[in-house]
């Protein structure tokens, strides 16, 4: 169960807090909440019965209602898109979230990998 990762990401994204927000900040808070909901959703299977997980799920629903956030919408803030490169070299400025080992396991042991194969008749 990786609910603590979801919690930390949400806290990092909303470090300024939801209070006294302007329209733009409120929109960003909803975006962060949706990302939080998305993250918890993906941990649902492994977090069954985990108190932190169930608290988070209820907390998200409450916060969404309090801030009139729609469940549908972006889950990451808009970015200025760099011009596409002609070559296929990896961009050094790729968001960290696009590198699994760097983003998901920054402060934890390397992930366990599994293998599946299908061949022959």
């Amino acid at each position: 169960c990786r609910i603590m990762k979801c919690n930390s990401e949400f806290l990092a994204a909303t470090s300024s807090g939801p209070h006294h927000l302007g329209i733009e900040e409120a929109s960003e808070f909803c975006t962060a909440l949706r990302a939080y909901a998305h993250c918890t959703h993906h941990t649902a299977r492994t977090c069954r019965g985990d108190l932190f997980y169930h608290s988070a799920v209820h907390g998200i629903d409450d916060l969404m209602a309090q801030h009139n956030c729609s469940k549908e919408g972006p889950t990451s803030p808009p970015r200025v898109r760099p011009p596409p490169r002609a070559d296929s070299q990896e961009r050094s400025d790729s968001p960290e979230i696009c590198h699994y080992e760097r983003s998901f396991h920054k402060h934890s042991p390397p992930p366990n990998y599994t293998h599946c194969g299908l061949f022959g008749d």
Partner: protein, 261 residues
């Protein structure tokens, strides 16, 4: 085809038609298997579709499709990466051998996929983090896909039962007579073993699969399919001491044993 699951179960399956290999929040892989001989229960993979679902600011949804004699080194839209998003190059296709071997790196989910065409049929291998394997949306099929749960019991072929019958390509060809297309080569159990030993010196389940394939088809290309499947395991499996498997996973119920055709 022969299936090695995420849990290192090893099975030989019928699974004719379209079946999901992987179906989670990030990725969907589906294969279509067709009989290797008219009316045969043994099938091999003739089509493979991989859908990489759109992921945050990394990749747009991309579809990869391979069929017999068509193993492209690009997605269905002609691109070779994840589209126009900021992290598009976290998904990339690399051609290793033209028309025969491609590799797809999906760094944003820590996943590597290898697809090959060996002879007429396709092979598939994947390395994926456990966390991604387990990422199944609630309300979906709860991970009912072959790579996770293996083949349903009624789709498994009992290799030992098959072996104990007299069903070799040699007597199959003799029994069918001259009206059916002739096989490229007819193998006895001993000659199939000898042929497989040339590429697979360790008599593990890859070796046994090779023998099975030669007996059922007479097509020597399946020797290479087993060989490359093992090469892919060597590259992709995280436990180097678990590469060779010797015990076939049996989940057969009484009365449901594979019998002769």
């Amino acid at each position: 085809p022969h299936l090695r699951t995420f849990l290192d179960s090893f099975q030989t399956c019928k699974v004719p038609g379209a079946w999901p290999l992987i179906d989670n929040s990030y990725l969907n892989v589906q294969v279509t298997n067709t009989p290797v001989r008219p009316g045969s229960m043994a099938t091999a993979t003739s089509k493979l579709t991989i859908i990489f679902k759109s992921f945050q600011e990394c990749v747009e949804q991309k579809v990869y499709q391979a069929e017999m004699d068509e193993l492209p080194a690009a997605f269905a839209d002609g691109s070779k990466n994840g589209g126009d998003k900021h992290g598009a190059n976290s998904l990339k296709i690399t051609e290793k051998v033209s028309g025969q071997h491609i590799e797809i790196q999906a760094k944003y989910i820590g996943t590597t996929i290898v697809v090959r065409q060996v002879g007429r049929y396709l092979t598939f291998a994947v390395r994926m983090p456990e966390e991604v394997v387990e990422a199944v949306e609630d309300g979906d099929n709860q991970g009912l896909y072959l790579c996770l749960r293996g083949c349903p019991v009624n789709q498994q072929i009992d290799f030992q039962a098959f072996h104990s019958t007299t069903q070799t390509t040699e007597n199959w060809a003799r029994r069918k007579g001259p009206s059916v297309p002739s096989l490229p080569e007819a193998f006895t159990y001993e000659s199939a073993m000898a042929k497989c030993r040339e590429k697979l010196p360790v008599e593990d389940l890859y070796f046994q699969s090779c023998v099975f394939d030669l007996l059922t088809t007479g097509d020597v290309n399946f020797t290479l399919a087993a060989y490359y499947a093992f090469e892919d395991v060597k590259m992709l499996h995280s436990s180097k001491d678990k590469l060779h498997l010797y015990e076939r996973t049996q989940a057969l119920e009484p009365g449901n044993m594979a019998t002769s055709e």
